[in-house]
């Protein structure tokens, strides 16, 4: 039961991290071999949202 609850909590935190772009930022840092800094976050934001804002949003 504890293992099940832990798995559910991990999934929920994973979904929240995906929706809040934390996973995408982690991938960005790994891809660029960079560490978190205000400048790096701003670069990520600009790149990520330039692509994201081109995608259709459902009705």
């Amino acid at each position: 039961m504890t293992a099940f609850l832990r798995a559910v909590a991990e999934i929920i935190s994973g979904v929240v991290a995906e929706l809040s772009d934390q996973n995408a930022y982690r991938r960005h840092l790994a891809a660029h071999g960079a560490v978190h800094s205000p400048e790096e976050w701003r670069r990520f934001q600009d790149e990520h949202w330039a692509a994201k804002s081109r995608r259709g949003r459902c009705c």
Binding site: V16, D21, Q22, A31, S37, R42, W49, S53
Partner: protein, 679 residues
Amino acid sequence: MGKNLGRVLWAAIALAAAFSMGAVAQSRGEPVNSTWLVIASVCTYLVGYRFYARFVAARVMALDDKRATPAERLRDGHDFEPTNKWIVFGHHFAAIAGPGPLVGPTLAAQFGYLPGFLWIVIGATLGGAIQDFVILFGSLRRDGKSLGQMAREEVGKVGGFTALITVLLIMIILLAVIGLVVVNALKDSPWGAFTIFATMPIAVLMGLYLRYWRPGKVGEASLIGFILVMSAVWGGQAVAQSATLAPWFTLSGKQLAAALILYGFLASSLPVWLLLAPRDYLSTFVKLGVVILLGAGIVLVRPDLQLPPLTRFIDGTGPIFAGKIFPFCFITIACGAVSGFHALISSGTTPKLLSRERDAYGVGYGSMLLESFVAVMALIAAASLQPGVYFAVNSPAGVVGAAPAAATATITNWGFPVSPQEMSTMADQVGEKTLFNRTGGAPSLALGMAHIFVSSTGGRAFMGFWYHFAIMFEALFILTTLDAGTRVGRFMLQDLLGHAWPQLGRTSWMPGILGTSAVIVLAWGYFLYQGVVDPLGGINSLWPLFGIANQLLAAVALCVGTTILVKMHGAKFMWVTCVPLVWLVAVCFTAGWQKIFSPLPALGFLAQADQLAAGPQTAVTATLVFNARLDAAVTGIFLVLVATILIDSVRVWAGILGGRRTAKSTETPFVPTRLAEEL
């Protein structure tokens, strides 16, 4: 033993689905409890998911976990990244769930709850979820290509170009109609208008917080934003009661439309991190939270449905929108049953994240079932209102009369008793001056949701708070679609115009950004304005137009899906996508034809124009005549565009099946996965 137990369990689920569906369908005279709808829908989804979708996954698509997905083969740490299936599920669901499944079922409840309910559940199980699943599968096997790219490569150049134009036109109509829903919800409502206006500086504050003060702390910024938005909902009551502030936020439809148009322009032109990104975070979390809250509320309260299963308006004389149950019930509810827009998401980010082919089964098919369930919840919330109240809120003044006494007399004569006192008391409870003629679906849905929240938490004194919380949720949701859609429309226009003048295609050239933003905003702004000045409330003409457009996009997606299946298996499994395609073509073309050519002025755009042209001529009449003819032309363009893709597709299928054309697939070759050990 285990296998037998499984068979017994699935037989029990199937029986529960059939029995509860029968209970919902057979009930007459007495209110039905919403629990029946919940059981009927959930059990049907389970059976569809376990048997039909699994059959399609195994036999039709032959999903193969040994095959490397684009996320693995093209992994770049940005777009392509193997991701846990539940996380992709959450991501995909958040992207497909928009305001459509909330508003459509609310409006279609004018036929009674039964037609909408059956269409939502059956349409999603056999049509909508299949469309999403097949397109996701097609894109997954083609390096994550978009619907437009697949249309071009599988069907032909004509199909690809037509799909692009169709999407752009649909986007314009979509933005106009959802804008109209917000305008009608906030019209003459200082509490609602204040709350929504407050979300804009709150989003800017969140943007600055994330950019400069606490870079990367999305959770913190979203929490602060949520607390501030809830404070705005709470504070809105004081604003509405203030003699000084209330007039500032008591806005007419035209003023609100102008504000929305300005907002759309700013959102499309300003840096994305300042307004669009923070609103998107806030809206996503509020959306998921409210959906869960509404689900819990319905399970706890188990409200009775007050609307009858069928109303007298199945004959096409409905006050909310004109037209008979066929085809208009199936046009009004698009998202929640079948939504063409989902094909854009299924061929967007999602195929680039799936780590295993079989994950497409749960993500593609399962997410649509969940959205369908959101639509069922919206229908329950709307149908739990007293029918008289439901029609008083949703009927335009042009149909029932502007004065409360006239409106209630008309609605009572229809067989749905309601009194001016009842409406006045309800308006007082939710902190509004009036609830009459609030067309668009959002206010009646908010009333239904507020009733459920109040009943599950207690405290009738909070009715006003919950009503405005629900309005805030719907408007926040819609505005996020509106600002993102305007930006996407701008990019699409820049891409198109860039072929003629490359400078316009540059997304960093400010005159190009401002010019194309203005074109997109003015295009949907015109239709929005048209809806605002329409004496019948605008929803009557714009929502069916949007429904037709969205369902036609689904027809385009199903044409692409059928072409893929024909190339894989010949005619053997083409029924999987052809059955929903034939249904949608019948529905859309019948609805489109009636909207253009019906001799009834309430239904046919041209008849409406002729009737207006024959009456006294004023500047307003001339505009209304032009608008009706414009709507007829837009509907005609949609039908021609989709007929073009359909004919092109049938030509390709006939060629392949007749042996005159080779079934040249654009599927990427099999590459074995290496992720098995990693995952």
